[in-house]
């Protein structure tokens, strides 16, 4: 029986799709059977992030409207046979699907997978409501910025109102150097403000850009800090007790001291 987890954020562009792709990949690497669903109807993206855009024949709306069976629409990942993608429709809008249809869909997947991850659209309207309709758990992604944190708090309220239980939080794109200088909200600040359970800290990492360019998950990149962070989140979701990555930027402090001495001498 699958756990159905929706990844959402309120604000766009904070890393929902990247998070969904990487958690799906990481969970499948651990040996779980995983389906990832792109619920962003009309703005399909999970396929390109995962490098599966050339394999799409049918999409979520085709399944809901009976033109394809679920099994036909599920696309197998390039590397991991236990990982499948159900792509969003690109030429339809979010009203093409109802909450009840989403619940039916997730229930059909429940018996065949260990995890179903749903990539929610940004916003708090119908698309978001559809994305959480069938979810057992909700995972909120935010970045340490005022706009993203404010929107995340709105989502916390809506998730609680939908009786989904307390959502958990991933703080994405942390820049340790800025946090150390007191010029970026720290993970502690964000948790204190949102008062929800932390499940991941992901540092800002250029390897996300290069991996996404190639349509590969960053969790394959052994040298990437963000990749390591997403692997850790997947292990925590699976129930393991994994310590949070220390992002204290010792080097930054040293550089700052050296910089100061340099300036004094000059």
């Amino acid at each position: 029986m699958a756990r159905i987890i929706t990844i959402t954020s309120g604000k766009g562009g904070v890393g929902k799709t990247t998070t969904t792709a990487n958690l799906g990949t990481a969970l499948a690497m651990q040996g779980a059977k995983v389906a990832v669903i792109d619920a962003d109807i009309g703005l399909r993206n999970l396929d390109v992030v995962m490098g599966l855009e050339n394999r799409i024949v049918y999409d979520l709306v085709d399944v809901v409207e009976g033109r394809a069976r679920l099994r036909q629409a599920l696309i197998k990942d390039k590397r991991l046979p236990e990982l499948c993608l159900l792509p969003a429709a690109q030429t339809r809008d979010k009203d093409a699907v109802s909450s009840n249809q989403m619940i039916d869909l997730t229930n059909q997947l429940r018996s065949e997978f260990d995890y179903v991850l749903i990539d929610s659209p940004a916003g708090i309207e119908g698309g978001f409501r559809n994305a959480i309709a069938g979810a057992d758990e909700v995972l909120i992604v935010t970045t340490p910025e005022v706009s993203a944190v404010r929107d995340a708090d709105r989502i916390v309220g809506l998730v609680e109102a939908a009786e989904k239980g307390p959502p958990s939080l991933i703080v994405n794109r942390i820049k340790p150097r800025l946090v150390n200088r007191g010029e970026m909200l720290s993970v502690e600040d964000v948790i204190e403000l949102l008062a929800i359970n932390l499940v991941g800290i992901v540092p800002d990492d250029e390897s996300i850009v290069t991996s996404t360019n190639r349509g590969e998950a960053v969790v394959y990149d052994q040298t990437s800090l963000a990749g390591k962070a997403f692997l850790n989140v997947a292990r925590r979701i699976a129930g393991e007790d994994v310590p949070f990555m220390a992002l204290s930027d010792q080097q930054g402090v040293l550089e700052r001291l050296l910089g100061l001495f340099g300036r004094r001498r000059a």
Partner: protein, 88 residues
């Protein structure tokens, strides 16, 4: 900015601290759907009620803030009394 300050800095005027304080306010205001106009009206109403007991209240001086707490949020009202008001 001195040498000492640039390392250990006055933490409370760093932008992260400013962001945190602004968010703390806006999040509770959002949650309780409290608009600035409603806050103003609330100050006037508080002053009106309290004036029955304390004639020395200036509604313009009242500060009303919603604060996020561990288990409960709090409405904090800071109501300064004019000195000498007790004699009038």
């Amino acid at each position: 900015m001195g040498f000492f300050n640039s390392i250990f800095g006055p933490r409370n005027n760093r932008s992260a601290q400013v962001a945190k304080e602004r968010l703390a306010t806006v999040l509770v205001d959002d949650r309780y759907k409290l608009t600035p106009e409603m806050k103003e009206q609330m100050k006037l109403d508080i002053a009106e009620v309290l004036a029955r007991y304390l004639p020395s209240i200036d509604p313009d001086q009242i500060e009303v803030t919603l604060l996020r707490g561990e288990s409960n949020d709090h409405l904090k009202a800071d109501i300064p009394l004019r000195r000498g008001g007790s004699e009038s």
